[in-house]
């Protein structure tokens, strides 16, 4: 991975350049955030000519290190106005790495209403007209790409919401079977790609040189340690919770803990939780048969296999994947306990090309505004379809929860930095609240998943309702996460490596084996902190400083049942997050 591809949409030109010294040894979120920070003016309009999209495989992506097929996509977010990196697990990332690219940068924009497809090869490639894909759903676009360019062609596509520059649009990468369903979903990067006139990117890996580690033996030793940890830990092993029930295995435990946001964050308990849980998904897969699958994988080399395929009553495929975040946002958060309705909502999100979390938080706010009753699945489906039609209502909803709430005068808007909160109630689980509030990304659970010790008793144990030491807890998680994101590992390796020290050693060893570095455990924290601070610096330059590190006001005065608690960590404590 020693080169960068640049596609200039203004000039419709593709060029390849050697990787500058400064960027060597970096990957994933480390590289995407660094390049955005270096090349994108912080004050630029996210949909204007000066924003860029950076695609970066992780440091280990393309190697045989388990679960290392992540791609980071960076840019200035049209949702938050700050820096954004969203990542996804997909074969696309592995191929991009094997083609020798540390990064692919999309810059400039077309000035007319045309659509383009980038066909990237090892020498650069070309921009091809893509009028045939214009305004097509992400699923259909992916199917047409495989028909035209061959099965297994790695792709990333934009859905119609991204083409319409809606701020909750994400980017859909292919899964191993060609579904446009692996999303770099958060923060509106689909709108950025839409603003540039780029509908899709495909990879032609002819004569790809592959990935060459500095020390093959060390890499292999490290990857064995990581794999052993994954396969021996109860959560990630074959037949364990994630593999058998998918990520939605979390539904019941969060609900029992009173931290499962329900009806637009009015309560921490959802009566219909069990009906949308991982257990219910597994039961449906068993009863309905056909396409229904638990233990599906998002990319080759994944040994956890937590993805799912949900089938309709007749056994035909409805949607993949049904994740915890999606059944929560489009289910509990909207009061909907019908899994078929939730599956249809997820399918619509995937086809429109929008983030399922933001979509569900937006729908919760829309219900608050009276556009539908809580629990009304068919009406929620109708509302999402407004986005296809590009009605004024569709454009309002497509801008996400904050914008929708503002348009309708709603005060209960569960966002931070204008990004919708994920599936954990910050009033009932304080550490994750600190992550939502301080993250450079806006409300984002993956940025520092303190749920592990607070709810799951993984990596130690921390009382969820207590405010004690939550700043430090979130900070440690955010730093380590940034490093995992840089390495290209799936975040779920954190569960085993938090509990099994040799697994953690293996992560460091794999990176050292790849790069020839001598990193230690301390460097994980140091590098993670460096990444967070360069993102923070971008945000400050973009006008998003500590004033934006605040919870939505209603959480300070509305008591959340069943614990009847408010947000009670002070602003001064929140500000101390960035103390060195």
């Amino acid at each position: 991975m020693d080169k960068i591809a640049r596609v200039n949409m203004t000039e419709r030109k593709v060029t390849v350049e050697p990787l500058p010294e400064k960027y060597k040894g970096k990957g994933g979120r480390w590289l995407s955030s660094l390049m955005v920070s270096d090349e994108v003016p912080a004050g630029c309009h996210p949909l204007g000519p000066n924003n860029k999209l950076v695609f970066a495989p992780g440091i280990l992506t393309g190697t045989r290190a388990p679960n290392s097929g992540r791609i980071s996509v960076g840019g200035k977010s049209p949702l938050t106005g700050g820096i954004k990196e969203a990542n996804a697990g997909t074969p696309f990332s592995q191929q991009l790495a094997r083609m020798g690219y540390a990064a692919l940068v999309v810059e400039g924009l077309v000035t007319d209403d045309t659509r383009w497809l980038l066909k990237l090869d090892i020498n650069g490639g070309e921009l091809l007209p893509a009028e045939d894909l214009k305004d097509k759903g992400a699923y259909e676009s992916g199917n047409l790409i495989w028909e035209k360019y061959g099965e297994k062609t790695p792709f990333v596509v934009n859905g119609p919401a991204g083409e319409a520059k809606m701020a909750m649009a994400g980017l859909a990468f292919n899964d191993p079977e060609g579904r446009a369903a692996r999303y770099a979903g958060r923060g509106g990067l689909g709108a950025v790609m839409g603003s540039k006139g780029l509908k899709a990117i495909i990879l032609d890996d002819k004569d790809a040189p592959g990935v060459k580690p500095h020390d093959e033996e060390m890499l292999r030793a490290g990857q064995k340690k990581v794999a052993d940890a994954i396969l021996s830990h109860d959560i990630t092993k074959k037949g364990g919770g994630l593999n058998s029930y998918g990520t939605a295995v979390l539904v019941n435990i969060l609900n029992e803990a009173g931290g499962f946001p329900t009806n637009n964050f009015r309560s921490g308990v959802f009566e219909g939780a069990s009906k949308i849980s991982g257990e219910a998904l597994a039961e449906a897969a068993e009863k309905r048969g056909g396409a229904g699958t638990m233990g599906h994988r998002c990319h080759p080399g994944c040994i956890i296999n937590c993805s799912t395929v949900y089938a309709k009553e007749d056994g035909s495929e409805h949607v993949s994947s049904v994740e915890y975040e999606s059944v929560w946002s489009l289910g509990a958060n909207c009061g909907i306990d019908n899994l078929d309705h939730v599956a249809e909502l997820i399918w619509l999100c995937n086809d429109l090309g929008i983030d399922t979390i933001e979509a569900g938080v937006m729908l919760g706010v829309a219900m608050e505004a009276g556009l539908a009753e809580f629990g009304d699945g068919p009406k929620a489906i109708e509302l999402l379809k407004e986005l296809y039609k590009r009605t004024p209502l569709g454009h309002i909803l497509g801008q996400g929860a904050q914008f929708t709430g503002e348009a309708y005068g709603v005060t209960r808007i569960p966002t931070v930095k204008r990004q919708g909160m994920p599936a954990y109630e910050p009033r009932a689980v304080k550490g994750i609240g600190v992550t939502y509030i301080t993250s450079t990304m806006g409300a984002d659970h993956t940025a520092g998943y303190t749920i592990a010790p607070e709810i799951l008793s993984v990596g130690g144990s921390s009382e969820p309702l207590s405010t004690k030491d939550k700043i430090g807890l979130s900070k440690a998680f955010q730093q380590t996460t940034a490093f995992i994101d840089a390495a290209g590992y799936c975040l779920f390796i954190a569960f085993p490596i938090l509990d099994i020290p040799s697994g953690f050693d293996g992560v460091v060893e794999t990176v050292n084996g790849m790069l020839g570095t001598n990193y230690t455990g301390d460097d994980v924290t140091r590098i993670g902190d460096e990444i967070l601070r360069l993102e923070r610096d971008f945000n400050i330059r973009a006008g998003i400083g500590k004033e934006a590190d605040r919870p939505p006001e209603f959480m300070r005065y509305e008591k959340l049942p069943p614990h009847n608690v408010v947000w009670d960590i002070s602003d001064e404590e929140l500000d101390s997050f960035w103390d060195k």
Binding site: L250, I253, S457
Partner: protein, 79 residues
């Protein structure tokens, strides 16, 4: 005393009537703990990771009270 138990995920196979996540009603002696209940259900050592009563995770030596509803989980995680 009578308590209600709900089993989740991989623990559902320990349901005495094989009804997976249907609540189980159990009669236990006064002073019984979560540990006693886990043992009574035949749940293997270290298979149960957490038990929630009234929305809080309780240690396994927690003394049960009449009418308690106990939700028992194996190790789970996601995101």
């Amino acid at each position: 005393m009578e308590v209600t138990v709900v089993l989740f995920a991989t623990l559902m196979r320990y349901h005495p009537q094989g009804e997976k996540n249907k609540p189980i009603t159990m009669e236990l002696p006064e002073g019984a703990t979560i540990n006693d209940l886990i043992e009574r259900l035949g749940i293997g050592e270290n298979e149960a990771k957490q038990a929630f009563i009234r929305h809080k995770s309780r240690p396994f030596d927690y003394k049960l009270e009449e009418g308690d509803r106990v939700a028992i989980f194996p190790p789970v995680a996601g995101g």
